[in-house]
Amino acid sequence: MAWWKRGVRRDETVDREIADHVARLTEDYVAQGMTAEEARRRAGVEFGGREQVKQAVREVHLWPLGEAVVFQLEAVLRFLRKAPGFSLAVILTLALGIGANSAVFSAIDTIVLRPLAFPHGDELVRIYQHDAHGRDANTFVAPQRLEDWNRLTSTFAGITGYYKDDLSELSGPLPEKVTLGLVAPRFLAVLGVAPALGRNFVPEEEHWGGPAVVLISHAFWLRRFHGDANVLSRKLRLGSTSYAIAGVMPEGFSYPDRDVDLWTPSAPDAPFALRRDATWFSVIGRMKPGITPSQAAADLATVQQQLGRQFPKPDAELTTSMEPLKATVIGDVGKSLWLLYGSVSLLLLIACTNIAALLLARTAEREQEIAIRFSLGASRRAIALQLLSEVVGLSLLGGLAGIGVAAAAMKGFHLLAEQLPRASEVHLNWTVAGYSLACAVATAVLCGLYPALRATRLGPANGLAAGSRGQVSSRNPMQWVLVGVQVTLAVMLLTGAGLLLRSLDRLGHVDAGFDASHVLTLQVSGSWGETTNMPAVVQRIDRTLDGLRTLPGVEDAATTGMLPGVPGKYQNEFKVDGKLDPARKVLGESRWVSAGYFSTMHIPVLAGQPCSRASTNPEVLVNRAFANLYLNGTAGVGHVIEPAVHGDFEATGTVRGIVGDAREEGLNEPPAPTVYSCYSAPNPFPNYLIRTKGDPMAMADAIRKRIHALEPARSVFAVMPLEQHLSDAFTEDRVRTMLLTVFALCAVGLACIGLYGTLSYLVRVRQREVGVRLALGAMRRQIVGRFLLQGLRVVAMGSAAGIVAAAGMSRLLRGMLFGVSALDPVTYASVVGVILAVAAIACCVPAVRAAFVEPVKVLREE
């Protein structure tokens, strides 16, 4: 039976019992000779209040029935009504602490802690090859070597690889750019994934001349075929080849990255794949269960040495390395997330401290009330129970709000961090939310209960005495310590946020050496297959560039292999004038740019000439850093530069000119010595850079139309301003800075709530003392000053401790800062200034309120 039904049933029983009692009493009086009327009246009077009796019986049964819960809930509601400001402060504090903590830890859990979405993801590794002398930055692997590795190693269940190609799909009404993943044999087997629909590639499809098939991504299936279940009978047309659709991959499978639409086998036995110096594949391997990464790495190194003896050129020059696949997927994001987690934990700590301070103040204020109730006969258990339910009620409300905050934060995270790896997998983790909730509730209960127990133990006499003394300052230290700790933590967070904000600001104002404004970037689809006839590719790209340059509104256009300012390095070793100096390596970044690049990017040519439009001789330009370091400065024009190792891409040529230093490798990197090769087709789909007179996006349509007129079978994609690329490249920095700033502001807010709450409490308990002082002629100014000083003294001490702690912790930020020192005095000074100013405001309100106490009124209350 439900507890409330049982309660109702019992009430009825008691009613009947009482009625029976009164009836018998009446009968007795009648028997004694009274009239029925008189007897009933006497019986009623003698029995007394029925409701009181019923209530007394009810109380016998109260605990542990659910009525107790209702009773306590009523108490909580009463409490909320009576102290709305205090309740709101506690609920907000909890909501912020729990919400932020749950959201950030959920993100960490998904991105860093949980393994990749592949089965036994810990067994997966990326494998690289390196030039033993560090002369070539290329780590891509030839198909033949990949097959050798797979066959000869004993510690791997399988080794496979992939590269990407952008193509135009022509079976629809308009050419559509698709990204094709060209995969070595065993691709799905190594990843441990099977198609959701259809089948994997069969061996004959993985050989040269086998049937042309593709697997399509779930997104492409929905986009292109609207999720048609009969898709396996359809065909796709890429270039001149028609492909059968073998299967559809499961939703969420997007390896190597999100924009891959199709996967097709790349046959290792194709005639053009036999060169051992080809640099094609990004390689992944799956270690056998129980094999450690070091065993696998040693095995691979042994196999490579063996290959070096068998094929001295080029295998003897190559070494191998590997790293966990997860590390390559998440990159450095893990570090940022741990930083955020540290910050958000500080925030939770502040929240807990804040609740502790608020509850201590609140309960101390109620000590008198508790003492009175105690002396009126309330049991210690009843009082403790009531205080406990108030606190638990508040905690639960705060917890609910916190989960709301966390859910909203997750939404925000998805919007903000779209560019970050695995961001789409991030969901609110209920275990984490539960943990944060438990932390906060435990704090609340401890802090709420402790004073309650103390008050009841004190005994009514002492409690009342303490209350009426009107001087409770002896009990303040604990609360002030808590407030001081909050200020310290807030200063730490604010300092971290300040340093990151200044870095970001510096990054925005850095002199890049090139002008990214008014530049539109785009790519035109092309295929690696075209590289069998490179002159034709060069001709096509030059023709497109010429077409763009004559478009009204376009100032200049160029192509480049890597976008300027977007982080990316490609360091090679060079020979100058055919000589290799073993004592001094000539190292430089390699960049491939077309004619017009320097004028498009507004990079000054300091000496000599820029890339010429129609040169048949290989030409290079170097930047000032390279010229100063290796070529006697501007006198370097005319020297011959060639790579120390000849690979697929060659930068041999006569130095035609020297250009200004530009931050090509990322805005946060100082310009490195750089060699520019004048070559418009570093790959079949280079980045176009188009300088426009007005808003670059306004020109996008006209530019698209012009390219379509020149190349009707090719698609134009990735159309966006260069500034957008630069900003995207720093998404992680921006998200990190923004989140830390939000946390820091929350922390400052919480510290202020704590400060305000504690000082308000102090003002209230010392009202009488203030009244007496005022009555004795104290100036209001003095009263304000006293309270203000008391608050600010704690803030000053907290800030000092915070600055020291922040300086100690700032080492953690070092890799994330740009252009400011971890001990930047401006940041530290501003933080202290902000904290003192905000704290002064928080202190002012209660301090001024204290001074406007009406002495007469207060003393009369006494």
Binding site: T13, V14, R16, E17, I18, D20, H21, A23, R24, L25, E27, F47, G48, G49, Q52, V53, A56, V57, E59, V60, H61
Partner: protein
């Protein structure tokens, strides 16, 4: 003799009285009050405000068992009787009371 004030009734004594009276045979609430009054020759008068909560408390502790039955005049009444547990409790409380009363008596008998 005038009835004693309620507050004079030693705490815990009411439970003992109820258990003893109920031990004499199943009885309803009104009967318990009457018997206590009669047997004490009107010295002890139990207030209803204390009686019923005490009955429910003793029932909840398992010392009394209660059931609805027909009384002598044909009306339904709630009859209380002593459980085995209650009988043990009564014995122990009786013993405690007697020791206490004996001790108090000894002190009062002390010669000046």
């Amino acid at each position: 003799m005038a009835p004693l004030e309620k507050t004079d009734l030693l705490q815990g004594t009411l439970d003992l009285l109820i258990l003893k009276v109920v031990a004499l045979g199943p009885v309803h609430g009104y009967g318990i009050a009457q018997r206590i009054r009669q047997i004490s020759q009107d010295v002890l008068q139990v207030q209803q405000g204390s009686l019923y909560p005490a009955l429910h408390r003793l029932e909840k502790r398992g010392w009394l068992a209660a059931e609805w039955g027909e009384s002598e005049n044909g009306r339904q009444a709630k009859f209380y009787r002593l459980s085995a547990k209650g009988r043990k409790q009564l014995a122990s409380e009786e013993q405690t009371w007697n020791r206490l009363a004996g001790a108090v008596g000894l002190i009062l008998l002390a010669e000046q």
